[in-house]
Symmetry: C2
Subunit: 271 residues, 2 copies
């Protein structure tokens, strides 16, 4: 059993995250709700996160497309209801993540074409030929149906793969206002903005910090960014959007902070 001290630490951390969070309504534009319990989703809602995009992802590589399709069905029905119970507007994004490409992925794409309101999480991981093919196919659907897309860029080879992602998105001819290039870093932001896309700023250990967000918006303004946590199956860093919004409020006009914390997201995702 944990010592009383250990328990107390955990309790204090929970209390800090839970009670001292800000009062601004936020939109976390990239989570994986399937990895979160309802208590955690409730804690997000209580902290001020009122809208989330829950992106499709399966944590083991699926063996066949029906796993993806059933996951999309779960995300667009069961997860939406679970979000509601927790006090969140949960907007499902469906698509084949580059780490989830499997036999029959074309069938999953067909489901996306028939049912998606937001496409995601798509993108490149290693930038293999099949990943490029799958990404391009999604972008084709998004262009045809005028659907917003959440496009993943990977941890490894960030610069090079982001460049490749941007080329593929450019080539698709999709409207710039429909595209969030996600997990942007101080090094990739400039290229993304030059092309006219939105940049997703994922505040999470191993991704970017609150301080990096501050310096990014100081340099590039508030118009072309959305905040997200990418919280999901792993540790509970689910309140980083609220924490970031609070930190931004200390330095910038609330009107500007609201753009990255909620308004840009509402505009892109048509909510």
């Amino acid at each position: 059993m944990p010592t009383d001290n250990k328990r107390l630490q955990i309790w204090k951390k929970f209390k800090r995250n839970f009670l001292n969070s800000g009062s601004m309504e936020c939109f976390d534009t990239h989570i994986h709700s399937e990895g979160k319990g309802i208590t955690e989703l409730k804690a997000m809602a209580e902290a001020g996160i009122k809208h989330v995009i829950s992106c499709a992802y399966y944590p083991v590589v699926p063996s066949y497309s029906s796993t993806l399709i059933d996951m999309f069905r779960k995300l667009t029905s069961f997860e939406v209801e679970r979000g509601k119970k927790a006090g969140l507007e949960l907007i499902p994004a469906v698509g084949v993540h580059p780490r989830c490409i499997c036999r029959g992925w074309e069938k999953a794409l067909k489901w996306v074409e028939e049912n998606a309101e937001v496409i995601g999480e798509i993108g490149l991981e290693c930038a293999s030929d099949v990943e490029v093919e799958v990404l391009s196919a999604h972008l084709g659907i998004a262009k045809k149906l005028d659907l917003p897309c959440i496009v993943h860029t990977p941890k490894n080879n960030k610069l090079k793969v982001t460049e490749k992602v941007l080329k593929i998105v450019d080539a698709s001819g999709i409207g710039e206002e429909l595209v969030v290039i996600d997990h942007a870093t101080p090094k990739t932001v400039e290229e993304i903005l030059k092309k006219g896309y939105y940049a997703g700023l994922t505040v999470q250990p191993g991704k970017i910090s609150v301080e990096e967000v501050i310096s990014i918006v100081e340099k590039h303004g508030f118009e072309k960014f959305v905040l997200n946590s990418d919280t999901g199956f792993n540790d509970f860093e689910a309140l980083t959007v609220v924490e970031t919004a609070n930190a931004l409020k200390e330095k910038f006009d609330e009107k500007d902070v609201k753009k990255v914390a909620i308004e840009n997201g509402k505009k892109i995702f048509k909510k």
Copy 2:
């Protein structure tokens, strides 16, 4: 945003559940870890729950067997690791839940036969012909391979369907020591014990209460029961096994309480 009072209430509830839980090590013999976030799993471990059986279940009816098989793969790899990170020994139980029977279920059964260490959650929901066929097929595998089984009984028609379940289990010829008839109630316990099986006592709103557990063990002793919460995709009633063990300790010998809280589970599931 919630009022400070509302926040305080939630915080106090968390604190109460989290800090004032008992010191006895427990085995929650039936959860669905896939519906829980890692913070919640950690809270369970911190509260004293050291071992859990995480049962296979998919919250929308799958369209094809590969969804079940991929879910089994996730449960037996990714979820085991997630449990470890949270401080839990997570023992996966795989099988086709009566509410998850889909096209190709025989293929999922083959995977179970080749990989299972514990079979579950199986059983009957409406007691339809196909449910009976699927349950019998699982029991055949369990008998052949000497595997413990977690057998669900439903909320509706509890008595009648439990009787049918018991008939099917009897007919399979499986060893009594391998079978937990789960979600037992004061009304079904007697029949289950008469046949020599273990009864799973699921302490959860809508299932049974701590008080009912107390009166059941008062009448029938501690040898043939295991405790569980069935916690999963819904609300966070994840510490009911610890709460029940604490309540039992106030009335009974710790040695006896340990049987239902941990030891019977270890014996049945060979841990």
